[in-house]
Each structure stands twice: as C-alpha cells, then as structure tokens.
C-alpha cells in the first residue's frame, strides 16, 4: 500500500476506533450473555415448539433474527459517520485538506476502513457463538455461523453505505445521525410499499433469512450459502459508495 494511503487509513482508523471498539464490545457481550445464560433465558421464553425450543433455534432467534441483528444494523450505521463535512463543522478540515491527496481518496479510504470494520463486526458472532457454545457443552454449527456472518457483512454494507452517503451530504453530527438511522430503518420499509416493489425484501429479512428460501424455518438453519444475496447486496453498497465518493470529490471547501 502506498504510504499516503496508509496514512489516510491510519487517520480513518483513529477517528473511528473508539466507536468500533465499543460496538465490538457490546456485540460480544450480547453473544456471551445469550450463550452463558441460555438456560434461564430459554426457560423465560417458554417455547414449546420448534425451532424456538432447540438451542440452534434459540441462538437464531436471539442473535441472528432479533436483538443481535437489530443491534448490528444500528452499529454499522454509526461506523459510517464522520468525514470531511463533519471536520469542517469541527474546524479541523484545514489539516486534512493540507494532505497531498485528492478529496475522493479521503472518502475511498474511509469507506474501505469502515467496510473492514463492518466485516470484523459481522465475523464476531461467527467466532463467539460456536466457541462459546462448545465451552458450555452445546454445539452450534460453525458453517451456519459463518454463513450468517457473510449475510451480515454483505447486507450490513448496504446500511453502512447508505449512512456513509448521508455523512457526505449532512454536516451536523446529530442531523447526520438522525437521518442515517431513520433512513436505514424507514426507507427499506417504504420502498416495499411502492407499486411494483412490494416483493423487494427488507434488509432485516435478508440478514436474518426470515421468509427467505435459503432459511429452513422449522430448524432455523440456512439451507445453502446465499451467494446471490451477498453479491447483490455488495453491488448495491458499491453503488451507494460510488455516489458518495463522487459527491465527495465534487465538494468545494472554500470559505
């Protein structure tokens, strides 16, 4: 990697590492709590029918379909925020612009670092769930966890890219945060109400496999690796990021 890019990557990492560390800590804690206290929590659920009454079903419901997945969706939005618009509001933009690289390179490197963090965050349950389950004498298939990690990383990158685009357009911290969170929450639901788009799946369903052909709802397991969904999600994310980088390159910071 050229030294200039390494410097920019280091800058992007320094700006987002506390957010990433806290996000990873929260997600890891959640997984550990769900595994360590699986017995009382499953009793509390009181499930008597499959798949909720099985350990794999319990992990699916708690980690991959509701709490864990919802948390991940919020965290990837948060990881994407920042950038030169925010730096202008904070008065530190001059230092960044003094670096001898084009504007769009800043955005590209920040996007790359953020996507790396999204992948790392998605991989966390894939490591913790099978390992933690083994520690308490239960089994959760590693290939299932890995496939869910792939889905989370690919579909999560759409949320990341949408939030990244907002961060390029909106300067105010809180306004960008509000727009990003609400956009990721409301826009996919709104799109499915439009004529002709009602069959468009929601991001939540793509990540959890809910009502998708690649999930067996009776066993709460993925029946195949959804490469098509992963590839499609990456294409959408790449499109959003391309728009964000293009907008970033056009921005003028005079005055």
């Amino acid at each position: 990697m050229p030294r200039g890019l390494a410097v920019l990557a280091g800058k992007a990492w320094h700006e987002s590492r506390s957010r990433f560390a806290i996000s990873a800590a929260i997600l890891a804690t959640l997984c550990v709590v769900f595994i360590a206290f699986q017995d009382p929590l499953r009793r509390l659920m009181g499930a008597t029918t499959a798949p909720a009454n099985t350990y794999a079903g319990y992990i699916y419901i708690r980690v991959y379909a509701t709490v864990g997945e919802g948390l991940f969706a919020v965290l990837v939005v948060l990881l994407a925020l920042g950038g030169t618009r925010r730096e202008r509001a904070h008065g530190s933009l001059g230092f960044t612009l003094a670096l001898p690289v084009p504007h769009r390179t800043h955005a590209m490197v920040r996007a790359a670092v953020g996507l790396g963090q999204v992948v790392a965050l998605a991989a966390l349950p894939a490591v913790l769930v099978p390992a933690g389950s083994a520690l308490i004498g239960l089994r959760y298939a590693a290939d299932q966890a890995a496939t869910f990690a792939l889905l989370w990383a690919a579909v999560g990158s759409i949320g990341f890219a949408a939030s990244f685009l907002v961060s390029v357009i909106v300067a105010n911290d809180y306004a960008a945060l509000a727009v990003s969170v609400l956009a990721v929450r409301l826009v996919p639901s709104a799109l499915t109400r439009l004529p002709g788009l009602h069959q468009l799946p929601r991001l939540h369903d793509l990540m959890s496999g809910h009502a998708m052909p690649y999930l067996d709802p009776q066993r709460a397991t993925l029946v195949c690796v959804p490469w098509g969904v992963a590839a499609g999600s990456l294409v959408v994310a790449a499109g959003l990021l391309a728009v964000a980088v293009w907008l970033s390159g056009r921005e003028r910071f005079l005055g």
Binding site: R19, L78, N172, D173, Y174, A178
Partner: protein, 229 residues
C-alpha cells in the same frame, strides 16, 4: 437567549424528526390498516398496543437525538468558550437545554397525535380525540425521561456518536432488564409499555417524570463539577 440558543442548535433535528414521524405514521396507515379493510378506527389502531411499534420505536430514537448535545460536545467543537462566557450559571444552561428539548418532544408527540387524527378523519368520533390527548401525554412524559437520559449521556461522553449509542443501549438494556427481572409488572418501570398503556396510569407517569427530572439534576451535578479550562 439560552432558549433561543438551544432552539437554534436543535431545530434541524426537530425538522428531521417531524419528517420521520410523518413517514412512519404514513407507512402504518398505508400498509397494515388499509390491508385490514378498515375494521377498526385508525386512531385506535395506531395508538393501540400492537400496530404502533414502528412509530413508537422511531419516537424513542428521536427523543434520544433531541436530548443529545451539551457543553461537552461544544468543548469538542471548540465553541464551549463562547457559551461559558455568557453571564449565566451552568444550571441555567442545563435547564434551558432540557426544557427546549422537552417542548420539542411535546410538540412532536402532539404532531403525531394531529397526524393520526387527520388520517382517521373519515372515522372521526369524539372518543378518538380524548384518547389521542391521553397518549400524547404518555408519550411526552416517557419520551421526556428518555430525553433526560440522552442529555445525561451527552454531558458524560464528549463524542456525540458514542453518547447517542450509550443512550440507545442504556434504554433498551434497561427495558431488557425490566423484562427479565419481572419489574415489568409495575407500569412505572416499563417505559416502552407505559407509552401505549390504554389505562393511562397517572401515578406511574408522575414517577417517570420525577425520574426524568432526577436524571437532568444528575447531569447538572456532573457538569457543575467539570473543569473546562
């Protein structure tokens, strides 16, 4: 002057919030209620327990966004010196910020109420207005407590993003603990359920209002002892 300052700092968020709740309410109206063939009045349907989860979740998120922002963030942006140069006590800064946030939240809850009543005009009856007013009060009080939590987090944490994240997780973590521990039996503890409780438990609402005030007071104590040199 302080009120105007707080208003200028938060008005863009309020605008976004108004658009967001309009979109969320519109989505509920467009999808579920229409699909159900109008068998229930829209106001009853939205304010009822089950169907309004999307609007309620958006409202909680917005309460956290509206409550965020304090001298700590101003310090990170380098503008705290101007605020501290004003001849007012820090207590007044916190009170003005909390009061403006609360007014905005009440306005937002009222706006949602008006929106729901407007959308249900075709099935209008006097009971809907009374019911809406009651829910607006419940949402304002419970949202006020969430707003106070967000204000406290933004006083304790300089990064706006982390402050927001901590507030959000603090709220949902609290709700999870209430659910697991059985405290949910008492209406005052479960804010999320209290927002859509059709019985309007006034005593619980008073308790929540007191808790919200205590959080703001805690924020003031934190801010008062902080050295901004």
């Amino acid at each position: 002057m302080l009120w105007y300052k707080a208003w200028c700092e938060t008005r863009s968020r309020l605008g976004i919030a108004a658009v967001a709740v309009t979109a969320a309410t519109g989505l509920v109206w467009h999808s579920d209620w229409q699909a159900r063939g109008h068998e229930r009045m829209f106001a009853s349907y939205v304010w009822g327990a089950a169907g309004n989860d999307s609007v309620k979740a958006v409202f909680v998120l917005l309460a956290i966004v509206l409550g965020a922002g304090s001298l700590r963030q101003e310090q990170a942006m380098g503008t705290a010196g101007f605020t501290l140069a004003l001849p007012v006590r820090r207590r007044q800064l916190v009170i003005a910020r909390a009061a403006v946030g609360l007014c905005e939240l009440c306005a937002l809850a009222g706006f949602i109420g008006l929106l729901i009543l407007s959308l249900s005009w075709s099935t209008w009856d006097p009971g809907a207005a009374a019911q809406t007013l009651r829910y607006v009060i419940q949402w304002s009080v419970c949202g006020g407590a969430v707003l106070a939590l967000a204000l406290l987090a933004s006083i304790a944490i300089p990064s706006p993003y982390l402050g927001w994240l901590v507030s959000l997780l603090g709220f949902f973590g609290y709700e999870a603990i209430v659910g697991v521990s059985g405290l949910g039996r008492y209406p005052a503890f479960d804010l999320y359920r209290l927002m859509s409780d059709p019985r309007a438990p006034w005593l619980a609402l008073v308790a929540v209002a007191v808790a919200g005030t205590a959080l703001v007071a805690l924020g003031h104590l934190w801010l008062r002892s902080r050295d901004f040199a």
